[in-house]
């Protein structure tokens, strides 16, 4: 079984993002970028399925600018076999990403597509569902456990108030939650080996894909909260909460 993993390059989760001066975008100059954390869980999940003998090949795909080479190398160092970069002039929105991904899926014919449940930059949580719809494949989103057996994927999903288990016929698309696993630490030899693994670059123009997109009018920091007070005792706290009328 072949697994395709879709990954994205995003501002590192520890960095506090700022809007650009014109307020049209997010400042990305000299900002540390990393693989989207949920996508790292997806790569780890795929590599573990390969190590367990369930999968035969793990292919990672990124849709975005040439800079995505570094996150693809990261995924290769984690154990993916080869990588594909659909090189676009700018970062694309979920619907466009899903359409490029569909084209790659049709070329590669994997049995399972894995991706993170959301990217921590746009927080959209849309791409997996969209590619699944375009392929007319079943989907399981926010997965915390995946078992493959008898041509089916048994997936535990994190839902509001608990968990739900679905059985999907393969091929299928699964978006993963942080709970799926703990991504491995990459050792230096793995990093060196990853440099020998192939990254195939396909210009976006080859696909002739058009997708409607949201127009971004403005990006700004949310209104700041008023400065708080440090209190000295529980009695002061209770008095403050009573004054705010939030406790009786």
């Amino acid at each position: 079984m072949k697994i395709l993993v879709h990954i994205k390059r995003v501002v590192d989760y520890q960095i506090r993002p700022r809007p650009t001066q014109d307020g049209k975008d997010v400042e990305l100059t000299n900002v540390k970028m990393s693989i989207n954390p949920f996508d790292e869980n997806a790569v780890e999940g795929a590599v573990r399925l390969k190590e367990a003998g369930v999968a035969t090949e793990v292919v990672v795909v990124a849709v975005g600018t040439a800079a995505n080479q570094d996150v693809l190398r990261h995924a290769l160092a984690m154990g993916a076999d080869r990588a594909i970069l659909v090189e676009t002039p700018a970062v694309v929105q979920p619907l466009a990403a899903a359409k490029y991904l569909k084209a790659i899926v049709e070329r590669e014919a994997p049995q399972l597509v894995l991706t993170g449940k959301q990217a921590i930059d746009d927080d959209a949580a849309e791409t997996a569902q969209m590619v699944s719809a375009l392929l007319n494949w079943p989907q399981a989103t926010f997965a915390s456990k995946i078992d493959i057996a008898d041509g089916k994927a048994l997936v535990v999903r994190e839902i509001d108030g608990g968990q739900e288990t679905l059985s999907l016929s393969l091929p299928a698309v699964v978006s993963v939650d942080l709970r799926l696993n703990e991504p491995r630490f990459i050792k230096l030899p793995a990093l060196m080996m990853a440099k020998k693994k192939p990254i195939e670059t396909l210009p976006a123009a080859e696909f002739a894909i058009a997708a409607p997109a949201l127009e971004i009018l403005n990006i700004a920091e949310p209104p700041a909260r008023k400065p708080g007070k440090i209190l000295n005792s529980v009695a002061e706290l209770v008095a403050a909460l009573r004054a705010e009328k939030v406790v009786s």
Binding site: E158, K229, I230
Partner: protein
Amino acid sequence: MSILVIAELDSHGVKAATRSAITAASQLGEEVHLLLAGSGVEGIAAQVASINGLSKILLADAAEYAHGIAENLTPLLVQLAPSYSAIVAAATSFGKNLLPRAAALLDVAMVSEVIQIIDATTFVRPMYAGNLNATVKAPAGLRILTIRPTVFEAAAAEGGSAVVENIAAAAYEGDTGKATWVSRDLVQLDRPELATARVVISGGRSLGSAEGFSATLTPLADVLGAAIGATRAAVDAGMAPNDSQVGQTGTVVAPELYIAFGVSGAAQHVGGIKDSKVIVAVNHDADAPIFQVADYGLVADLFTVIPELTAALKG
């Protein structure tokens, strides 16, 4: 044209989050209809018809609509879409699972987790764990939105008188059979639901253990009638159930009072609480970032503060 809101069901009927979606839909300035799709839901149609702000209920009662399976509900949405100018659902795990699937088939750039409606095509949505807000304009034509339920007040359960139209027979496309529901394991709570609680208290990893977590926080939660939340660290350490996680990847809350005990205040957590009316932080580390967003801070040991606070509020 009208706006179609997708109802999310639980064992009690329609979730409060759906009534928030109805409020948001009303702000788009057109008639609001509700799609009530499920199995054996005919009985709740009358109850739903009295929700304020609705003019019509589309009742789709069929076995394959049970459990909210996206693969089965999407064909129904695609079929109904041409009669509507917008499709709206709450940004819960149900809405987030379903709407992007429909959006792709309808070739619509959807807007997820809307926190403000500026006009019928312009919306504000959070990005980067709530550190930034983007104002976006949706292309002309059908709009597909999920709205953040904590920022739109739930429409009143009474006062409306919508007509009920049965559409199941017309819309039936059969179970796609691609995804089969196996089981659902819901955490039984005898306290308010996290997303809609008026008061939320939460704990971090410093509570030590699952027993400690529950034993320390429960008495205070009982006094306050509060829901109990947790940080990712506490959840990962097995101290609290997954669905109690508050933050970017868990539940976003906006209660009247949020009290964080032993929570350092990572951006991913703060993004999920910063719309709370009053935030209180109790932490022994005076430099913890949580104090930057707290209205009231107490630099103290949570194990002494919690019993004192519980006693003071009881009396």
